[in-house]
């Protein structure tokens, strides 16, 4: 789950962004021809991919270790039920493979994963984890994509207007409002949205309510209606956060020397803002958005819970509550995969957005 709680980014220097530790120096004076550039980029990507795989290995191993180190409820006992004798529990433990040493369990898990792309079977429902995850992936994707569109479509223009009209009443109102949106708990916001606008329990019955999700290909209109409220609720904090970030970045950029140059050239103010100011101010926003999308694809637990949307976030939450290790492992790996991929994509994208970045 990721909700932006860090408002420092409004003051962050432009090219910096979190999580970019592997990138080489920004102001590298690489005088390379295109060919060399792309082959070095290719090597960089390969290197990052290898790192990514290693990272997933570490994450999965950590999940195993944490699961066994912390008291998390004995899955065999939970499954055995309240009348089970210790012998029955041991049988089930054996059946689930939980009687083997942790490293051996990990080995078996990884072998199945690598050789058969098999994520194992849920301790609780007996269902294959892979099937459950891939069934829920489009749901989480639906939730994420709409929220991203909203927060980009609203957050960025609001940030721009606020920056241009900096210190005006409009700026003060939107930035004040954004603080409220950032600090409003998602769950609370979700309930408010439901009680106001949902078809089932709302005062104004407009949009689909809790549990109304249907897949896009089944009924696009119902899909859309069911997701409107979750999108806005999930996007609220992000919108506010992005508005503040864009505003901060743009105000800072507009004080840069190259903006003075652009004005001195006699460009219209609109062109100065949009071609020169925004071009520089939005680059870090793009990378930030990439990372946030990556995180969101791992599931938005609170939004999915309050709106009863069967996404990855709920699956992860339920499996943690239920001590369902294979399901926990699957959702954690998926989340890690998205975050690692988003990092890589963002870093590669950055090289295209900012010519100063070379790998």
């Amino acid at each position: 789950m990721s909700q932006p709680i860090n408002n420092e980014a409004t003051n962050t220097p432009r090219p910096s962004r979190p999580g970019g530790g592997l990138r080489s120096s920004v102001a590298g004076y690489a005088r390379t021809t295109k060919g060399v550039l792309f082959s070095s980029m290719f090597r960089y990507i390969v290197r990052r991919l290898i790192w990514g795989v290693l990272m997933l290995l570490v994450v999965s191993a950590l999940t195993f270790v944490i699961f066994y180190l912390l008291p998390a409820g004995d899955p065999a006992a939970i499954r055995a039920g309240r009348y089970a004798t210790p012998a029955r529990i041991e049988q089930i433990r054996h059946q689930l493979g939980l009687d083997r040493p942790v490293y051996y369990q990990y080995w078996v898990y990884m072998k199945a994963l690598v050789v058969h792309f098999d994520f194992g079977t849920s301790f609780k429902t007996n269902l294959p984890v892979r099937g459950e995850i891939f069934r829920r992936l489009p749901v989480t994707f639906s939730v994420a994509i709409g929220a991203v569109i909203i927060w980009v479509a609203i957050g960025i223009p609001v940030g721009i207007i606020s920056a241009i009209k900096s210190r005006s009443w409009l700026d003060r109102v939107t930035m004040g409002g954004s603080l409220v949106a950032i600090s409003a708990p998602v769950y609370w916001l979700g309930l408010i949205a439901l009680f106001l606008f949902s078809k089932d329990v709302g005062v104004i019955k407009v949009f689909g309510g809790s549990g109304s999700y249907v897949p896009f290909f089944q009924d696009p209109a119902a899909w859309f209606s069911s997701l409107i409220l979750p999108w806005f609720v999930l996007a609220a904090a992000f919108t506010a956060f992005y508005a503040r970030m864009v505003r901060g970045n743009l105000i800072e950029t507009m004080n840069e020397d190259f903006i003075r140059t652009a004005r001195a050239k006699g460009l219209s103010e609109r062109r100065v803002v949009f071609r020169h100011g925004l071009r520089a101010a939005l680059t870090p926003v793009v990378t930030m958005a990439g990372l946030d999308i990556g995180t969101l694809l791992g599931g938005a637990v609170l939004t999915e819970t309050v709106f009863n949307i069967p996404g990855i976030g709920r699956l992860a939450y339920d499996s943690i509550i239920g001590s369902d290790l294979p399901m926990i492992q699957g959702t954690v790996l998926l989340g890690a995969f998205f975050i690692i991929s988003a990092n890589l994509i963002v870093d590669v994208l950055y090289a295209f957005l900012d010519p100063r970045v070379r790998y």
């Binding site: 006699g266 071009r279 010519p355």
Partner: protein, 357 residues
């Protein structure tokens, strides 16, 4: 505006020279620029008087905060902030720049009055190729095709001494050296053949050897195009190289104004003396210490009463604390704003110059 054929450049330059004698191309009278801030009103420029003629170079010298950059920015209308109050007169080729509407001001900016800045790396957009940035400048003011603008850009880059400009045009600023970047800035400023080039500390951020090259370039281009140059600097060495006329600014005022030779041989203002002593001279024995002006530049919010320089002036008199001196002619073409007796200050100035020479 139709593009001029390249070989008509000299002719154009000459035609400008013929009209030069009539009056100043750019004339600033009693310019006042105030900014309202949270801490109070900043009196950035307080009655500046400057003028420059075609083909001439005006050097504006002063410490940081003396109002020289604000004056330059005001000329091209870049200080029109909501919190700014601008009064006085700026007349450029018969146009009243102070009251010129924004959209017309934009046409003057870049096309007729161009400006280059101190740090060429930060002054160029880091994410656009240098050629794109120059092409943009051309196409902002002239209806020309991109390919033509590109050709002119290559030409301009060649003109400012950038080797293989057809390649460099597609470089990003960070791929160029500091000197090259400033050449790009100059090419961008001069590609539209402006009447006035305002150079705000153009060499400060550069290596000493590169500084000389850039100054040579500016001088050569000025001579070639007949462009009027306003050279803003805190470095009297640059002034000595380039300026025809020198204005010394302090606390938003022009305190001394003279032809270069006059200023360097007989400066009459205690502040100018201080400035001169703060340059280490290469052709004189190195003094024990750099004898710079004591004290800090004044706060532009709470200016001292009387002469703004009096708290730092070694020759301060009672009158200096009460009355602000006027900028008055002491010799023909030499204006000074100081309460010291004319004879006395001329004598001290000459003595000091001999001493340090």
């Amino acid at each position: 505006m139709t593009p001029e054929p390249p070989d008509s450049d000299n002719a154009a330059a000459k035609s400008r020279e013929t009209s030069k004698s009539s009056s100043a191309l750019l004339e600033i009278r009693d310019l006042r620029v105030h900014f309202r801030t949270r801490d109070g009103v900043v009196h950035a420029v307080e009655g500046a008087q400057l003028s420059v003629e075609r083909g001439q170079t005006l050097g504006v010298v002063g410490e940081s905060g003396s109002g020289k950059s604000v004056t330059a920015m005001t000329v091209i209308g870049l200080t029109r902030f909501p919190n700014a109050t601008i009064s006085g007169e700026i007349e450029f080729d018969g146009i009243d720049l102070i009251n010129l509407p924004d959209n017309q001001m934009r046409r003057v900016r870049g096309r007729r009055i161009a400006m280059i800045f101190q740090d060429p790396l930060s002054s160029l957009h880091p994410l656009y190729k240098v050629g794109w940035q120059i092409v943009e400048a051309i196409q902002t003011h002239e209806e020309v095709s991109t390919s033509e603008a590109r050709a002119r850009t290559i030409e301009a880059l060649r003109e400012v001494g950038i080797p293989s400009p057809e390649k460099r045009i597609d470089s990003y600023p960070h791929e160029l050296s500091g000197g090259m970047r400033q050449r790009v800035m100059i090419a961008m400023a001069l590609v539209l053949k402006p009447d006035v080039l305002i150079a705000d500390e153009p060499t400060t951020a550069l290596d000493v050897t590169v500084q000389a090259q850039i100054l040579d370039l500016i001088r050569r281009l000025k001579d070639e195009y007949g462009t009027a140059v306003v050279m803003i600097t805190h470095d009297l060495g640059v002034i000595a190289e380039l300026a025809d006329e020198v204005a010394v600014m302090y606390a938003g005022r022009v305190m001394e104004k003279a032809p270069r030779e006059v200023l360097f041989t007989s400066p009459e203002l205690p502040y100018t003396w201080g400035l001169m002593r703060s340059i280490p001279r290469l052709d004189a024995p190195r003094p024990d210490r750099l004898d710079s002006i004591s004290g800090l530049p004044p706060s532009l919010i709470n200016l001292p009463p009387g002469c703004p320089f009096h708290p730092r002036c070694p020759y301060v008199m009672d009158v200096c604390l009460k009355k602000e001196p006027e900028l008055k002619q002491s010799e023909p073409g030499h204006l000074v704003s100081c309460h010291l007796d004319v004879k006395e200050r001329q004598q001290i100035g000459r003595d000091l110059q001999t001493l340090y020479r």
